[in-house]
Amino acid sequence: MTALQTLAAALATGAVEVVDLTHTLDPDFPVIVLPPEFGQCARFRMEEVSAYDHRGPSWKWHNISMSEHTGTHFDAPVHWITGRDRPNSAVDEIAPENFVGPVCVIDCSQGAAEDEDFELTPDIIAEWEGIHGRIPADSWVLMRTDWSKRRGAEYLNLREDGAHSPGPTPEAMRILVHDRHIRGFGTETVGTDAGQGMHYTPPFPAHHTLHGAGRYGLQCLAGLDRLPPTGAMLLAAPLKIRNGTGSPLRVLALVPGKDAT
Amino acid sequence: MNRLAYDDVVLAAPHSVPYIRYSNDPAHYWAAKGLKGTLDAAGLRPDQIDGFSVASFTLFPDSAVGLTQHLGLCPRWLDNIPMGGASGIVALRRAARAVQAGDADIVACVGADTNQIDSFRKLLTAFSRFAMDASYPYGAGGPNANFALITDRYMAEYGATREDFGHIAVAQRANALRNPDALMKTPLTLEQYIAARPVADPIALFDCVMPCAGAEAFLVMREDEAQRRGLPFARIDATIERHNAFPDDPVQLRGGWAMDVDQLWQMADCAPSDMDLVQTYDDYPVISVMQFEDLGFCAKGEGAAFLRARDLTITGDLPHNTNGGQLSAGQAGAAGGYIGLVEAIRQVTRTAGPTQVGDASRALVSGFGMINYDRGVCSAAAVLTGGAS
């Protein structure tokens, strides 16, 4: 059987399960907050156009609006100044094979529970690789913090000195991007960078490094605790927005089912 | 300069269409009933009149013009009198001069209105601009509040009492009991008057008229015409008319009659004491009191005392509103401006039947109309004498 035939069979039997890693696009879901003189991330908004009524008798539909970076979303290289001149850096230009790929999950949930400014460091990467093997090139790396279980103000965790949430250090990003050649990096927080990420050098190291190398980001992911450290397949296809810098998307993972051996 | 006398112009064929409280028929129906009644009384066909005068609040969207086609009339003289309680006397004045000048030979004067369930409310909304702008928004909802204020002020200024006004209302009710067509058919005592349900202090139920449907009509013609047809007639000794008199009075305590009273009696060549009966405009008793004062029966402020000392019933020493007036017979819209005049013609021609005042030959009739804002604007009066036919 070809890989696709076995996959089809496994999907049909439940031997491969589809796991949803996406937050609901809800008007109340927090978005990143920037200083007010900057342009702001538009929250998700929905206006009913008709609901089987005089506005349209048989059908219901909505008009929706949002930022490219609202909810569970994909960052394309063109999102960051370091990636502005990369080829194929907008969501409509990225080759589709980049939307399906293997995924490594680094569990930082315990550390994040203890320290809201928890950092993903080279040591943690080394420790993970000691157990699971070297991170394969062109794979997604997701930082599990269980941050997606937080609600409301706890999620952004804003204080007067800004947001406090875990994220990678510049050196960790350098290793992942330039040594391991990952395809992209994803987090459960509102950005790929830590809440205090602007204080690193360079500021916002995940954005800086990933996009400068033409790689991708995923943020506001949910339910990373449902993924194995390795062995899952990530399906993350941004909307094909012309010259889009990112996109809300439905992130799925194919994981071994319960009956898996 | 002395005004021209009315000489050989006379009034004849008085006709009252019995009033009813509510009518589904429109004003056109009531005008036709009134016109037919006066023509029948004179033995005339519609094509034999060449003048027509109409007063009505509820003809809208028609006026006298529309009625000519509606009723098949072909007059060479036409008038529409929008003056409410002064309409009858003003119609008389204009018709008499037209006949005198030869512009018309026989003029039929008709005051007619219907009263549908919502007529009063409809009338209010389109009554006058000042009332709409500056009276109704304060809860007046019609003339009750205006006359309450006038009555309040009159009582405060001249010491009149509710009993004084009751004296007028009770006498009129006694008169009305003789009038088979009056809407009020039960006696009224002063105690009942005083105890009545308050409407707008100090006005209570029996100070107010009852709106109804009805019509009043009479004919104006030369004396020889009346003689030829064998019609009893009344002569016009004198008339006056005035509008918007004393605009600077803070509250209306006098009407336009006070400006012209001397001319009235001079032209009539007689005095108030010569009157066998008086028909005042009586939508509220206070205004009747003012008419006695302003028309020279007594000094200003003494009206209440003057009337209290008189018997105002048909058999009394000063018969007043002998058919019950509007207070007891009903107020049929603009016909209310005719009711006293038509009754006076009957009285001086000795054709009043059950309400006839013994040997009445002279009568004073007075009209008052249009609460445009805070007071009545139109006033008029006439002295009539029975003709020897």
Partner: protein
């Protein structure tokens, strides 16, 4: 075994034995949109893409945009709740549907030739059965998509909608086609035209059979798909996951197919 499955999949992807085919059209202001009869006053507005910042005073390091669009704009997914016949399915919204269903093998019925000849071409149940005789039967839980090559017209709303005085003219399924496919237990039906129904489907009985019947059975629709000519008749896996819009009736999507390469 499933671990192996995924490992094999990963290997196939990395080795180039498998290709990911993008089945989506570009979302932009020029994306053609459905136009309803004028008596339904409300149409989907044009897609708007507004710049928020572009490495400038509105945001020094970054570029980003915000978007305004209808749920049923561009390459999109129809959830059962889109139609009155599917309004009562609890899992009929974009945020509640079972994602296991939307990753599934896809049957591609090639009607490109017929559609080139007749823009009002209707695929019938008999033609589907003939296709099954040639390519194998359509199985429960699979996608069925109709290749019309209509995506080649997508750069112009005029040719894409192909409307004249009698309304839009674009191919689609007949009533019996949808009834037959539903009897096979498909998960959903997709086309390359503006909607899952033919341009003239308003006059069918029932009107808009794909919408009406698919959603009545809690099945999904895919519209404005692209690149179906790059898929084999059978053997590809279609991934069509809508945005997780709360109570959404549909969503623009990035539809992809996994295709084995020889």
């Amino acid at each position: 075994m499933s671990k192996d499955t995924l490992a094999k999949l990963g290997e196939a992807l990395l080795s180039g034995k498998m290709e990911v085919v993008d089945l989506s059209g570009v979302l932009g202001p020029d994306t053609p949109l459905l136009e309803l009869p004028a008596d339904f006053a409300k149409n989907t507005p044009k897609i708007e893409i507004h710049k928020i910042s572009e490495y400038d005073e509105d945001g020094p390091f970054f570029a980003w945009n915000w978007l305004k669009l209808g749920e049923h704009s561009g390459t999109h997914f129809d959830a059962p709740h889109h139609w009155i016949t599917g309004r009562d399915y609890e899992d009929g919204y974009t945020d509640t549907l079972d994602l296991q269903r939307v990753v599934a093998p896809v049957n591609v019925i090639d009607c490109a030739r017929q559609c080139a000849e007749n823009p009002d071409f209707l695929l019938t149940a008999d033609e589907v059965k003939a296709w099954e005789r040639d390519h194998g039967e359509i199985r429960k839980g699979e996608w069925v998509v109709m290749r019309t090559d209509w995506d080649r017209r997508a750069d112009s709303a005029d040719t894409f909608l192909n409307a004249d005085d009698t309304g839009p003219h674009s191919p689609g399924p007949s009533v019996d086609c949808i009834e037959y496919l539903l009897s096979r237990g498909i998960v959903g039906w997709g086309t390359q035209c503006i909607g899952t129904d033919a341009g003239q489907a308003g006059g069918m009985e029932p009107p808009y059979p794909a919408h009406n019947l698919l959603h009545r059975e809690d099945c999904f629709g895919l519209a404005s798909l692209a690149n179906l000519d790059k898929l084999p008749p059978k053997g590809a896996i279609l991934i069509a996951a809508p945005l997780k819009i709360k109570n959404g009736t549909g969503s623009p999507i990035r539809a992809m197919a996994l295709v084995a390469r020889d």
